[in-house]
Symmetry: C2
Subunit: 295 residues, 2 copies
């Protein structure tokens, strides 16, 4: 039996997610003999060397993946196609290529055509994060008791998918599998639409007349505050998510808009029963979450 799950684990991108994987792999043990971190920006490179959570820090993506038996992309999903063009010629046969992106259909679309023979693609999405970003923001416990969704590609090697599942279980996560299309729909309503709404309402407030806007900032007591916590997320990451989960996101926004108009109509015409029903449904979902200990 191997001492380590992987001999050489290469993380492409070491922001919140990548640096947390490295820290957690070190902290838990038994995951990788050598951890290689790749980042392009010189200042991030220097900082990652200082932080010391990787055995090797490599500025060239191609050299970073050489000899790795597991490579995990931890960059914004919009960068995948470009990264893949640089690393594909250097991926070793038998290597497993995985990722931590929030969209999965686009990941398969961008990576699969460039996949070298003998390399297995296992897309994955750890449902964990904070509103902070960068290599300093990561921590070893980020994935503990969080779900990781694996979306195996049709025709892929089940053993490769199982090794990625085992990686995340060892990092403390609960692993679920589903197809990429279902994944993209679920995260569209659970995460992407709430972020689109949060970004939007901040702009709506910002457009108000000067006096009202100043008061808005001063009195952002309940509701709005929670929305702005969401809205403080990373710009590149969220731009890429929106652009790469377009169809599911627009579909969920359309459903939400219809529903908000129905509630607005009830407010306009004083339909108390309809309004109460909508509020009760919110409470019911909330209770469902509490029972699942996700709240």
């Amino acid at each position: 039996m191997a001492e380590f799950l992987f001999e050489r684990l290469c993380l492409i991108g070491v922001g919140l997610i990548g640096s947390s994987v490295a820290r957690a792999a070190r902290a838990k043990g038994g995951i990788a003999r050598t951890i290689v971190a790749h980042t392009r920006r010189p200042e991030t490179l220097a900082r990652v060397r200082e932080l010391g959570f990787a055995d090797l820090v490599e500025a060239d993506a191609g050299r970073a993946v050489e000899g790795a038996d597991c490579v995990i992309l931890c960059v914004p999903v919009g960068a995948y196609a470009g990264v893949m063009r640089r690393i594909a010629p250097h991926l070793a046969p038998g290597c497993i290529l995985s990722d931590a992106g929030s969209t999965k259909g686009s990941v398969i679309r961008d990576l699969k055509p460039l996949l070298p023979a003998g390399v297995q693609l296992v897309p994955a999405h750890p449902m964990a994060g904070t509103e902070h970003s960068g290599p300093d923001a990561g921590f070893a416990e980020l994935f503990e008791n969080r779900y990781v969704i694996i979306t195996p590609v049709p025709g892929g090697d089940p053993a490769a998918a199982e090794r990625i599942a085992e990686l995340w279980r060892r990092l403390g996560s609960m692993v679920e599998r589903m197809d990429a299309e279902t994944h993209d729909k679920v995260v569209a309503i659970v995460s992407h639409l709430p972020h689109l709404i949060a970004f939007t309402i901040c702009g709506t407030a910002d457009d108000l007349a000067e006096e009202t806007r100043e008061a808005v900032l001063r009195f952002a007591a309940s509701g709005f505050r929670d929305f702005t916590r969401i809205a403080s997320s990373d710009v590149d990451m969220w731009r890429d998510i929106f652009l790469n989960n377009r169809d599911a996101l627009l579909e969920m926004l359309a459903r939400f808009t219809e529903d908000s108009h129905a509630l607005a109509r009830a407010v306009r015409y004083g339909q108390a029963d309809f309004i109460e029903d909508r509020i009760r449904r919110g409470r019911r979902i909330r209770r469902g979450l509490i029972e699942r200990k996700q709240a």
Copy 2:
């Protein structure tokens, strides 16, 4: 100088807000010699007696306000007109009538026509709350470092407004004044629209096909979770808020919907710059909140 700010403080309704006012008044001291609590429901009445945060518990609203020099309505705003009809004949001359409702235009509309001679109306809105409700949910620190907005009525006695301001300052709050119309616009975007959105998105999720809905509940990781915390609020209170801040709420929803459609269009046509700009604005507002220590 009087030992107490008020001789007899009567709280109409002792849910989260009313019971917190009573607890805080006791804890801080110097606020009221006698605290009278009114609630109609026999089971709440019994529970309030058990909890012991009021000196007198009175099932009849008219008798509760007799001899009080300050009465604060702490019931859902939709109940104000009915309550006012019951208490108006019993309000003593010199009494200050205030409230803790989340809408202010409707409060003036419902209370002012029934106001007896010699009674001063000072509408107020403590911007504090939790997702819990009922007399057990209250606590003495609820209003500490929170804003309370007072919306004095035109022609009202400034001394009465100042006594209500002093009441809230003694409970630990920061007091601001504005006219009722501005108040209603500000809370529409800061609090009421976020709640309408939260209730709506829970319903949208609930309407999804069985399999997706189950996954939604399981993976409500980031975004959605914060929304459902909001959505777990009290049904009667929120129905009344929506119906009594109708115009401002519908106006803000219309602005938000236009903005969300603009962002959706940018997603559809891949306009990265527009999307990034919207995300950056959210972050800017967030920073503004953090600088104001509201986040």
